[in-house]
Amino acid sequence: ELKVEQNPLFLSMQEGKNYTIYCNYSTTSDRLYWYRQDPGKSLESLFVLLSNGAVKQEGRLMASLDTKARLSTLHITAAVHDLSATYFCAVDIAGQNFVFGPGTRLSVLP
């Protein structure tokens, strides 16, 4: 059974700081997705990572995938309050479905 872990689960950081969220998974997969969820809202797609070594950047967020280490990272650069949300990684199982990580609740403080 595929297990997906994220750490940290809770992250409180000051504006302007950098930080990285980690996503580990237990079995082979070469597709990983990052989503953002605001309270009471749906899941907003951030990044689709489709191969080993994939790196994607959008604004202050950058995601990478290392399939050999079964690790993805979501790096936050110079955080701003608008980035406060819960971030989920999700691992694709042969296109059949996702397994989501537990989520990282990020609070960016002024």
Partner: protein, 113 residues
């Protein structure tokens, strides 16, 4: 940008009642999914649907649940006899296939009382 539309946005039902949650996928999507998220918890897979058949389902998706795509557009999730623990946000998702990501709907909040 095309969206996955879910209705209703919020439904309150009494325990033991049947509910039908509706989803209108994006027109070029081929694969469809239902996920649920109990408040404050992780997102859990329920079922995937392709070519008018269930392709995979989780342990959560027991005999109380069913899915249909009756008219080639709407994609429905039916819960026959709701339980208190079915209270959750239910998300429909779809994708084209290949390297494309999944698009999630806005969700239906189901409250069983």
């Amino acid at each position: 940008e095309p969206e996955v539309t879910q209705t209703p946005s919020h439904q309150v039902t009494q325990m033991g009642q049947e509910v039908i949650l509706r989803c209108v996928p994006i027109s070029n999507h081929l694969y469809f999914y239902w996920y649920r998220q109990i408040l404050g918890q992780k997102v859990e897979f329920l079922v995937s649907f392709y070519n008018n058949e269930i392709s995979e389902k989780s342990e959560i998706f027991d005999d109380q649940f069913s899915v249909e795509r009756p008219d080639g557009s709407n994609f429905t999730l039916k819960i026959r006899s709701t339980k208190l623990e079915d209270s959750a946000m239910y998300f429909c998702a779809g994708r084209q296939g290949g390297g494309y990501g999944y698009t999630f709907g806005s969700g239906t909040r189901l409250t069983v009382v």
